[in-house]
């Protein structure tokens, strides 16, 4: 990074640290911060989408859809999220490659599962083997987003179902007496009115989502925890910057980082609550 960094072993403490903290490897750690933020920002809308699907499905008049919706909401909430994180990406990846294999290489007669091996034809690989490294990273990241959205969608669905139930019946009946159809009632009354009831639950989920991002590390995505462990471990002179075991320091920084993010978002939600409470006949309005 800096010119004087060519020979780290000869540097004074301050210069040594300014070089050490700007090695390309440390840059990867700072960069992984964006990975974490991107995961949160992408998971939230997708999770909400899964949530809406789950909530409306569990209120559906069709019994099969209702069972699917309720099953999704309660089974996913009954199992530790980490189990899904270890499971969903692999299952999804294999499912995608399986489908691509069947469509792209329909004439290959060899079985896909051979003993322990899962072998699809070269064209069915996702992404292709010769694709650039970043495509593989992005693909792995997107699998993680789906896994997170799947889990958080179930929690969202539970919150949204509760909020939909809390919309005062009078408002819905008023809509009905005005001659609105079921869909119009849903679009014009239920959904806009339920947010104030859903907000406390959703803000809770948002905090939960932030605090579960360190699990990305278990999905093979190089996130902050991965780099903190990698950089913090003791380094022999095989490395240009050798040092003792500094993991405690790295984890302290991580704790502070997360504390900061959760505090900021808590403030944001408080503001949003005040805004939504405006014009509501609701005790929280002030």
């Amino acid at each position: 990074m800096f010119e004087f960094c060519t020979d780290p072993k000869s540097l004074e403490t301050f210069q040594w640290f300014s070089c050490y903290l700007t090695t390309p490897k440390h840059m990867s750690m700072y960069y992984s911060l964006f990975t974490v933020v991107a995961l949160i920002l992408l998971t939230a809308p997708f999770g909400l989408m899964f949530g809406f699907m789950g909530a409306f499905a569990s209120r559906s008049k069709n019994m099969i859809i209702r069972i699917l919706g309720k099953g999704y909401t309660s089974i996913v909430r009954g199992v530790p999220d980490i189990v899904f994180f270890l499971f969903v990406p692999i299952a999804l990846d294999q499912a995608i490659e399986f489908i691509r294999h069947k469509t792209l290489c329909w004439d290959v007669t060899e079985p896909i599962w051979r003993g322990n091996d899962f072998v699809v034809c070269r064209a069915a690989k996702m992404p292709l083997s010769e694709a650039a490294v970043w495509t593989h990273d992005v693909y792995g990241f997107l699998l993680a987003v789906v896994a997170f959205a799947f889990v958080f969608g179930a929690f969202c669905s539970n919150v949204l179902a509760g909020a939909l139930k809390s919309v005062p019946r009078g408002q819905i009946e008023a809509g009905r007496s005005m001659g609105l159809g079921e869909r119009q009632i849903r679009r014009l009354i239920e959904v806009p009115q339920m947010w104030i009831y859903a907000l406390p639950g959703l803000s809770n989920l948002w905090q939960l989502l932030i605090k579960s991002t360190p699990l990305l590390f278990l999905l093979g995505v190089e996130d902050l925890v991965y780099w903190a462990r990698e950089l913090g471990g003791s380094k022999t002179s095989a490395y240009a910057y050798s040092h003792a075991d500094w993991r405690l320091a790295y984890f302290t920084v991580l704790l502070l980082f997360y504390l900061l993010v959760t505090s900021i978002s808590q403030r944001g939600f408080e503001r949003m609550r005040k805004r939504l409470a405006r014009g509501q006949n609701f005790s929280g309005a002030s």
């Binding site: 090695t23 390309p24 490897k25 840059m27 990867s28 692999i90 990846d93 294999q94 490659e97 792209l104 290489c105 004439d107 290959v108 007669t109 060899e110 051979r114 003993g115 322990n116 091996d117 899962f118 072998v119 699809v120 034809c121 070269r122 064209a123 690989k125 083997s129 010769e130 490294v133 593989h136 093979g220 190089e222 462990r229 990698e230 471990g233 003791s234 022999t236 002179s237 095989a238 490395y239 240009a240 910057y241 050798s242 075991d245």
Partner: protein
Amino acid sequence: MILKSLGTTLGVMALTATVAMSDTVRMGTEGAYPPYNFVNDKGEIDGFERELGDELCARAELECVWVKNEWDSIIPNLVSGNYDTIIAGMSITEERDAVIDFSDAYFPSDPSAYVGLAGADPALINGVVAAQINTIQASHVASSGAQLMEFASPDETVAAVRNGQADTALADKAFWEPIVAESNGELEFVGEDIVLGAGIGVGVRESDGELKAKFNTAIASMKEDGSLNTIIKKWFGEDAATFE
């Protein structure tokens, strides 16, 4: 499209010859086991296996890309096709050989050694022993009657000995040597070295016979002209075990 038209005539061939087509081979490694493989300060994969792997790929005329993967799930990700080889200081053992295939050894059977705090009693190799999860060392400790303590990375086993959680730790001797040498006398080898496994080879899927053959040819040619021994000596010192 090419695959489809080939597929009808060659059928089986097109599949087994996965690497023959466009020749990008994804090389899986751990990146946390210096000097075998590690991530250097530039953030690149470095070490003995990086240099060796690049040379093997050059000789086999393959285009290679390096992929990092946690040790814990390195075999599952090979068999599910996330990469095509494992080149991560993985000893050839019967148990692993049952699920994946190995090339010929590119590193001779390396002794494993116990390390403890200076002045440790040799009997402590039967005390609390730290080892990395899913390694030959871990299964050796589990069956030896000592108390096994498992960690996800080799680095953590060193820390466990340093702070006295474990009496000793078992790992490849070549991994220990720089650590013991630079510990200012804090760490020491304990007891006798033991030989586990039948050398280190490149792991490939069982269905990938062609890739295995290519690596075998490349390894044989490096053994023949002595360049393999040169790389071994470069990374493991003049006294390292080499091929005849």
